[in-house]
């Protein structure tokens, strides 16, 4: 995915969107990160895309299922059977 090794021209938007995860995972080299952040600072389109991606990720962190009462009963029965008596 990363082919550039020579002296790099500034990022374009099409490349930027492919680096978002590497950036958030802190997997970019210092030079790559500087290039990413420079583009982020000057491109409104990419800044918007980036912010939306962060919102998607943050929102994903809120969609867990609620605990299930029936499973709770099963668990507590097992706890009583297996551990309760000792």
């Amino acid at each position: 995915m990363r082919l550039w090794r020579r002296r790099r021209p500034p990022l374009v938007c099409r490349e930027f969107v492919e680096l978002v995860t590497d950036y958030l995972e802190e997997r970019l080299t210092d030079a790559e990160r500087a290039r990413f952040e420079a583009h982020l600072a000057e491109c409104d389109g990419c800044a918007g895309y980036f912010e939306d991606m962060r919102r998607v990720i943050a929102t994903a962190g809120t969609v867990s299922a609620p605990p299930d009462p029936h499973t709770y009963e099963v668990l507590m029965r097992a706890v009583r059977d297996l551990r309760g008596e000792d």
């Binding site: 374009v12 389109g45 918007g48 895309y49 998607v56 507590m76 551990r83």
Partner: protein, 202 residues
């Protein structure tokens, strides 16, 4: 869990409150992850119950080399994978599924690689700074609709909040492949939530 050794002591002693705390904290998450592996509510139910039972039985042998949370999810992932195999839904992470579609469809960019027009923004709730309620429910559907490998990785990383390291270990994935799947999955979620251009509605 701040004081794990003491929590584990309480669990081993059969302390109901300790189990209750653990249950309310993790049952929903386990359910979400199970859903990313197996597709029927019955299978989800079974896998999650088996996980809790395995925890109760395995507590004495738990050596605390990983955190309780990692251990719990590892049990779940193992159960869910073998259940998926039984249901003839092989979930294999040894090679990546063939999906290298770009994060954003190429037509959104001009010949110079720049956006043709600034991409449309997703609606969000200014107070929570999260996506709007409507998009949030679309997000749940979109996660369920991801290709299997991406769905599992996005669920473990972004829904549950496990670290890259934990997920690599659980799924026996290389660090690079984990990141590729996460990137493809997240990008696909963004695409599913709305077109980038108002001019070309999907």
């Amino acid at each position: 869990m701040h004081d794990e050794p003491s929590l584990i002591r309480r669990l081993r002693a059969g302390d109901q409150e300790a189990f209750e705390a653990l249950f309310s904290r993790y049952d929903g998450s386990l359910r979400r992850v199970a859903t990313s592996f197996v597709r029927t509510p019955t299978a989800v139910e079974e896998v999650v119950q088996e996980t809790w039972l395995a925890l109760v039985k395995g507590l004495d042998g738990f050596e605390g080399r990983s955190s309780l949370q990692t251990w719990l999810f590892q049990i779940l992932v193992n159960r869910a994978r073998s259940r998926a195999v039984r249901d003839a839904r092989q979930i294999d992470f040894s090679s990546l599924q063939d999906d290298d579609s770009p994060a954003v469809e190429p037509t959104a960019f001009g010949g110079d690689g720049r956006w043709r027009s600034a991409p449309s923004r997703l609606e969000f709730d200014p107070e929570s700074r999260l996506l709007s309620a409507e998009l949030r429910s679309e997000l749940v559907t979109a996660i369920d609709g991801l290709p299997t490998q991406q769905r599992v990785v996005v669920t473990l990383r972004d829904v549950i909040g496990l670290t890259a390291e934990e997920v690599c270990e659980m799924l026996e994935l290389t660090e690079v492949n984990q990141r590729v799947l996460l990137h493809r999955g997240r990008s696909r979620l963004r695409r599913e939530l709305g077109p980038f251009s108002n001019e070309a509605p999907r």
